[in-house]
Symmetry: C3
Subunit: 325 residues, 3 copies
């Protein structure tokens, strides 16, 4: 693996989940792989789970890690070509990325969308230029439109908890839109949908998305998903409910009005098959998701966050193995 | 040891000082203890000595270290239960702490008081919730009311320098309030008092506290201490003077008026038994403590800061040993 | 080597370049040298290349690294002696430096000039006090007047690319002033000039400096350099052109008016001997240096940034060897 930016970089989800769970069972078995190799983690935006889990994953593999909060420790980067740099940008991404590639064997990059211009955000211009110019393998730590390490951890969590039940039935997974006070990116739901659609195609799950009118995700990310507008109907028989807010894709970056009843709580859980509840975190308690669920037996959110480590470790291990070929 | 937040977590100061000095004599003897273990250092406030000495201590023990300046790199945490999170807090401490516990074997936390509400600060609500929800051993890197790694380094320094004198007499240790321009927490003096009172109970020292009227510490931290209001009388025969400013506990968080003469200088030193002078640093020169002392032979401040390393290493080592039981 | 702040700390450039290129050929051969040794990197200003390359260099040598962005994670330092610290400075450099020296075997320091007062900046007061009080070996990560790790990487790059040509001729190296929108320090050009003048004295190169009237560097840094005011004449026959902006030394810290034609581009390159073009980065594209050069075959800027690693590694290795004597 030379690039990890979406589910399209993963030949088989089933196999990749298996790899991750083997690492979870035996975290330190591959430390010679990472010896004298350095992972650089570059953040253009804040991070808690992603930074710590990816750093720990690399340490488990025997690597060194250098963290660079480029939004705080560095300076403004230019991404446009052909401009005279006589303004506020101090360095062009062509040089900045190429230089970081000189000191690191693998780079991770986090770069959020601005939510002003859909074409610009969905072009992934910044991320793609970084990949192009750094000239080393790159792991997405969340880009403008995707958060694949999160989605990988999510499918690991579903697989891990479901296979303890020996009934052979495929789980019904519902991505359920939830309210928020801020306009959030579509990166997490896009990515979750994309991974679940592929997992559905691999026969692992059945996948439903529920959201109010106007909050439909781009169809590029939802091939084969069952799209619903009534949350209670969508939840019927659900085994996993993945709660998440996102701003509108159609009216790009906007927070639209929506009918009552989209916060996930115990009342809603009654419609499900005693579903496990997931969220990528950070979660706004009692706005997106009720405290009663988060503090109760149906919540998987901490377990799911813990699996971020094994997702990252499986990705980095695959890159190190590719490098050693 | 599963928790290090105060002297109450330490069965015997004498033994713990001995452990620390053995590490100082042989810093790298226990590197197998920390192999594949990770220390997470979480800062809600700035730090210099604490961050570097604790990081180095963990490295000496063979651990990995991940530093998280949550005040700068993260986001605002909610601590209250039962609130709808539709305001400025992005994540609840229940989730944030639990997640960090997923990636770290031991966590260190720094969290200063706000100095607005005594009950709130002295409840140590934030710190205690972090400990409760992270579910791994926690080292205090200074909380609202205590700074135990500093106090441990202080008693190490006193023991180490005193035992070179073979006369058998117990040293007289004086905690001496000093002026400052800002309202500072009581964490360092509370903690120093608490450790010295226990050291006095263990027969290691005699302990006196001197401060102007209105600056009395909470009695919870000063059992058995000799409390004085006249600095010159308090200094009589002192072997160690621990200089420190703090704001009022009674009129909580306030800087009260005080009589002249509380800055420590060579004139004051004449009242002592050629006392060694200590300060936790950072120190305001010629406001709290004179330059002539800081740059002269009676100052222990750098030596004392150096011992922060061995204090931290003894604490982390005790936690690793508990973990391996 | 106990100090690395200028070319004056280097007995022979030729030998030091040879050492660096041996490390480049065999980066991990000296890991026992750094075992249980810690490098502390202290930044008073932002850094990208310097931070990552120096961190990686120390890791290659088996050291631990602790990074401290003192401008962001710490507090304001006092440097003047004899002042009552009742203002905004929280800690004196005497204590701060001494404390950092307690936890680190080698320290690196970055501290830019303020460009207000030439005497103050050129006295290197802050840097020299840090060196004095920390009491451990110090590597300059760029001071008010010099950036020696950059200059060392520059001469490595020139030597490495030139010696592939077997004609025996010495290369002509031209330091060429270029436009910018901000007032920049003289640290990089001072340091480059100083290293090139010594390399010229060692018979490695011929050295020319070209700048508009008023932009002359201090003569302390340019002994033996050929100083030119006409950029086209200066470029005649050049083998290497080192492009860099700096503010005036004479009218200290000012951006003076200058005639057109100082941006380096392909038109200018025609005057040279198909010169390789260098820049310390970050570079303002199409203001200092044209995109056509940066993206073309004559640019060495990324290669040169890559050599920062081997420059840092050679310096740190020399310090570790001195320590082990």
């Amino acid at each position: 693996m030379k690039l990890f930016t979406s589910v399209h970089d993963v030949p088989s989800i089933k196999q990749f989940v298996k790899d991750a769970l083997e690492l979870k069972a035996n975290p330190y078995a591959h430390q010679s792989l990472g010896k004298n190799k350095t992972l650089g983690l570059v953040f253009m935006n804040p991070s808690l789970r992603t930074r710590l889990s990816t750093q720990k994953a690399a340490l488990n593999l025997g690597m060194n890690v250098m963290v660079m909060n480029l939004d705080k420790e560095g300076w403004a980067l230019e991404t446009q070509d052909g401009v005279v740099m006589n303004g506020s940008t101090v360095e062009h991404i062509r040089e900045a990325a190429a230089v970081m590639g000189q000191y690191c064997d693998i780079l991770g990059l986090r770069s959020f969308p601005k939510l002003n211009n859909r074409e610009e955000d969905y072009s992934e211009d910044f991320f793609n230029k970084f990949v192009k110019y750094c000239a080393v393998p790159v792991v997405s730590l969340e880009s403008a439109t995707r958060h694949p390490l999160q989605s990988f951890a999510d499918i690991i969590t579903i697989h891990e908890t479901w296979t303890k039940k020996p009934d052979g039935k495929k789980p019904k997974v519902v991505l359920a839109w939830a309210p928020h006070v801020k306009a959030l990116p579509q990166a997490v739901p896009n990515s979750f949908a994309e991974w679940m659609c592929k997992a559905q195609a691999e026969g692992m799950i059945d996948f439903t998305i529920a959201q109010p009118e106007g909050y439909e995700l781009s169809e590029d990310f939802t091939p084969g998903a069952d799209i619903q507008y009534n949350i209670e109907e969508a939840l019927a028989g659900a085994d996993y409910v993945y709660v998440k807010n996102w701003s509108s894709y159609k009216e790009y970056g906007k927070v639209l009005t929506y009918p009552d009843g989209w916060m996930m709580n115990n009342e809603k859980l009654k419609f499900t098959n005693d579903a496990k509840v997931m969220h990528c975190l950070p979660v706004r308690r009692d706005l997106e998701l009720s405290s009663e669920i988060l503090d109760g037996p149906n919540s998987l959110v901490i377990h799911e966050a813990g699996n971020r480590l094994w997702a990252a470790q499986a990705v980095i291990k695959a890159m190190l193995e590719e490098m050693n070929k």
